[in-house]
């Protein structure tokens, strides 16, 4: 080996050595070992192994990112091309290719912080406009005949709701207004579905439903366009978006909020059995009330009739009594009248009688001559014969006489 050879030998190192050296430099740098980098995802590749590779870039630079399967499993953010993300991890050199890479341990959406700020700002704005005010809330119909659902027509949510609706109310009419529930399309489709339901004007109530998800997933429910569509809907809307802890702008604007889609379905329709029972109760009430009324009216009627009968009898009796009294009075008066007249006549008669009385004549010296046997008045000398006995009534007594002679 020549000196030149040696020099050359000592002058250079192998690529492996170089790369290993750079890798070590990186690994000794605290900043590079725990770093968060924001950028846009591009060139996303999902390997069969389950690892994910992409390029994180901004307007001027790019960096390769690898996220291993084990970390990926814990990351809820959906990674897609064009998406702005913040990648946490460490920088290291991939020795084999000599490429610096960001080894991701966590990836979150770069928008989340902004999203939450936007959420708060929109909430405040709509609140000021009165979108959440109680006076604008419509009552849910008690007995809807047609129920509308706005959600994805694939997935568990719609099935859960249909199951609950049918369990409570077999035979309920269900209208689906399908819409994407996340992503760009949902921003347009959700408000459009509400408008379509209003245009269709068939359902009595709308359920706006979606399964749980991150704030980002639920973003379509936090837009002003959707808020406006809910606010102007003539059909009452019950919102059931995500889990109980997820609260969206749509929930605030909706007429009623349900914790989950299944709960919304429970709230929307009454139980069929209960309706039948309610009707049954009404029928019973009607029958018992009518019975009660007719019985009490019949009793009252009976009383009335008796009362009236009594009254009329009494009146009649009184009339009769009055009549009797009147007749009696008339009779009495008539009698009195007759009596008076009679008395009068008697008096006059007695006066005349007095004048004509033989006693008075006798007192003037006349005498009445009678046959003592028959009492016959003797008015003529021819009515007696000699020796006849006569009784002569004087004013103060009688003379018993015998006829001794007759002269004419």
């Amino acid at each position: 080996m020549s000196e030149e050879d040696y020099k050359v030998k000592t002058d250079y190192i192998s690529v492996s050595q170089l790369n290993t050296y750079i890798k070590k430099l990186n690994e000794n740098d605290e900043v590079l070992q725990n770093i968060k980098v924001q950028g846009e995802v591009s060139n996303l590749k999902r390997a069969v192994s389950g690892h994910v590779y992409f390029t994180l870039k901004d307007a001027e630079a790019a960096m390769k990112v690898v996220c291993f399967r084990t970390y990926l499993a814990k990351i809820s953010t959906e990674i897609s091309d064009g998406k702005k993300v913040i990648v946490s991890g460490s920088i290291s050199l991939y020795v084999k290719d000599g490429i610096l890479q960001l080894y991701a341990t966590n990836i979150v959406s770069a928008g989340v912080g902004d999203l939450y700020q936007n959420f708060l700002a929109l909430k405040e704005k709509l609140e000021e406009r009165g979108y959440f005010a109680a006076e604008h809330k419509q009552l849910l119909p008690k007995y809807p005949e047609n129920v509308g659902i706005i959600t994805s027509n694939t997935g568990a949510v719609v099935h859960d709701m249909i199951r609950v609706l049918r369990r409570r109310y077999p035979g309920i009419s269900i209208y689906l207004y399908p819409s994407s529930v996340q992503g760009e399309k949902s921003l347009i489709e959700l408000p459009a579905a509400i408008k379509l339901a209003n245009l269709h004007a068939k359902v009595d109530v709308l359920i706006l439903a979606r399964g749980g998800g991150s704030l980002e997933d639920l973003w379509a429910y936090n837009t002003e366009v959707l808020a406006q569509a809910i606010f102007t809907s003539k059909i009452p809307i019950i919102s059931a978006i995500g889990h109980e802890t997820d609260v969206t702008i749509a929930d605030f604007v909706a007429d009623t909020r349900a914790a989950t889609p299944s709960v919304a379905a429970e709230l929307v329709v009454p139980e069929y059995i209960q309706l039948l029972q309610q009707l049954d109760q009404y029928a019973h009430k009607f029958i018992s009330m009518t019975e009660k009324i007719t019985t009490s009216k019949a009793n009252k009627l009976q009383q009335d009739v008796l009362q009236r009968l009594g009254n009329s009898l009494q009146a009649k009796l009184k009339r009769e009594q009055d009549n009797t009294k009147r007749v009696a009075k008339q009779f009495e008066q008539a009698v009195l009248h007759v009596g008076d007249k009679a008395l009068n006549r008697i008096q006059q008669a007695s006066i005349r009688l007095d004048l004509l009385s033989p006693l008075k004549t006798l007192s003037r010296g006349y005498a009445i001559c009678q046959s003592p046997l028959s009492g016959k008045l003797i008015r003529s000398v021819h009515e007696v014969i000699l020796k006849d006995q006569l009784s002569v009534q004087m004013a103060d007594g009688k003379l018993h006489c015998r006829v001794e002679g007759v002269s004419e």
Partner: protein, 81 residues
């Protein structure tokens, strides 16, 4: 009397009005009996209404030609899962 296309809610509302009248002391027998008859008719109607509901799921879509309504079975929906 009930509207021809009275909703179940309308029918119940009318029923409770009739019942209220019957609970009043001043109701006369004729009105009570007429209310009873009306009530029974309304209950029959409401019952019919409950029985008449047909089990159906329909998908409503907007198209350039207007609203499209197509019936869909739950099984068909399941297929889309």
């Amino acid at each position: 009397m009930a509207k021809k296309n009275a909703s179940f809610e309308d029918l119940l509302e009318e029923l409770s009005v009739l019942l209220q009248q019957m609970e009043s002391d001043e109701i006369d027998l004729d009105t009570a009996i007429s209310n009873f008859e009306k009530g029974m008719e309304l209950i029959l109607k409401a019952n019919e209404k409950l029985a008449r509901y047909e089990e159906k799921i329909k998908i409503v879509l907007a198209s350039s030609k207007g609203i499209i309504i197509k019936p869909v079975s739950e099984e068909e929906l399941a297929d889309e899962l």
